[in-house]
Symmetry: C2
Subunit: 241 residues, 2 copies
């Protein structure tokens, strides 16, 4: 596969190849990174499980009216997607406080927010993806003014839809990160991935973590947790294999 296609970009967890003039081939890698790639890991089959979770979620979200870059699943660990120009913001939605924001304001993890909170982080590895306000993002020309409410609307729509689905899978959607890109017509599409790499998912009953915090915090059973998320989502969606 990689022999035939031109590699456009290699990220921490994915490779992106040219497919056709307006399409790309996204290959999900087995690698795991945390803390701006200062902690490295991997497990066999991770690319496949994350690819499968993303495909399930993209199809589900499309059915809920969210436009995504997803076109088709390709065996074993790839998808074909619309080529987009990624907006250089990590868009984070929080339903429950955890991670960097809980730490920054010295609030115990687990505080439930009355309404979902949308945060932007400027995608820049050298700077460590700094937190950025709406006004800063516009002033520094990371996005245009009108794109801010559009991005928040997409983020909150994805959140509403995913919360319902994850609840059916007995998982609390604590927070997640998405990326959005513009296609050749300027239409904003959900891009990148939605996987346990960029969500926090806690078991509704036990509060057990089923996400990358198992890797970040050395909690073990990383592979099994990712596979469990896929299995629960398949059950929740009634997917037969």
């Amino acid at each position: 596969m990689s022999l035939k296609r031109e590699l456009l970009y290699e990220g921490k967890a994915k490779k992106i190849y040219r497919e056709t003039s307006e399409k790309v081939f996204v290959e999900y890698k087995d690698s795991l990174t945390a803390f701006n790639a200062q902690k490295l890991g991997s497990f066999e089959g991770k690319g496949i499980v994350n690819r499968n979770i993303t495909v399930l979620l993209y199809k589900y979200l499309e059915g809920q009216g969210v436009k995504t870059h997803f076109i088709s699943a390709e065996e074993p660990n790839g998808i074909v997607a619309t080529e987009v120009k990624i907006i250089p913001l990590e868009i984070v939605v929080r339903n429950i406080l955890a991670g960097s924001t809980a730490k920054k304001f010295n609030i115990e993890e687990g505080r439930i927010l009355e309404r979902p909170l949308v945060e932007f982080y400027f995608k820049n590895d050298e700077l460590g993806d700094p937190f950025i306000s709406d006004d800063q993002a516009v002033a520094l020309k990371v996005v245009s003014g009108p794109e801010i409410p559009q991005l928040k609307e997409i983020a909150l729509k994805v959140n509403s839809a995913l919360r319902v689905l994850f609840a059916k899978a007995n998982l609390q959607l604590v927070d997640f990160k998405i990326e959005v890109g513009a296609d050749s017509k300027g239409q904003l599409l959900l891009a990148d991935e939605i996987t346990p790499d960029c969500c926090r998912l806690w078991d509704v009953r036990t509060q057990e973590k089923f996400d990358k915090d198992r890797f970040r915090r050395d909690l073990g059973r990383v592979k099994e947790s990712y596979e469990e998320v896929l299995k629960r989502l398949e059950n929740a969606l009634g997917v037969t294999k």
Copy 2:
């Protein structure tokens, strides 16, 4: 003076005493601090010069339609002000990038912004006054949703008025920090101070600094620079002594 009044609060550069049931007496100290009080200094007469600058600016701003907590100047280094409940945000307005935001995004100091940028920092010494977005400030109940645009409006009005005045004083208003409080009727008033401690002021022609960066960065002539700012403002306003 301090013998007669009850001390309500002592900050890094001011003491606040009870004056009457709805008024406070604010005493400007000679101390100088930087980097969240990790760097300490002082100079004789600093309290008086900062008091005098603040009084000039408050009176000027009131004339420009900005409501402030200022009531009267008291010799030698105090003012009487309306008692307010301070909103725990440092409200920063930037016309030219410098300081922490330039550093955070690795942008050289001196980039002129097309439009003024308003930033909020959560006032909390223990946390180091972290940068906070509008949505975070509302989600964490630091302010109410409707207060955000009100605070920005006050900040931008102060900025417009001060830019004109400082230009007459041959000083560029690079950035500044204000604080806003609510009086007993809930009316938002400009409070705290406006001095070279919380502004960046560059000479229009030479770009020489006339503000606390002289102390922060050990540039010398701190006292002379603060006194020069006062002298230039008096000239610009046609104040006779």
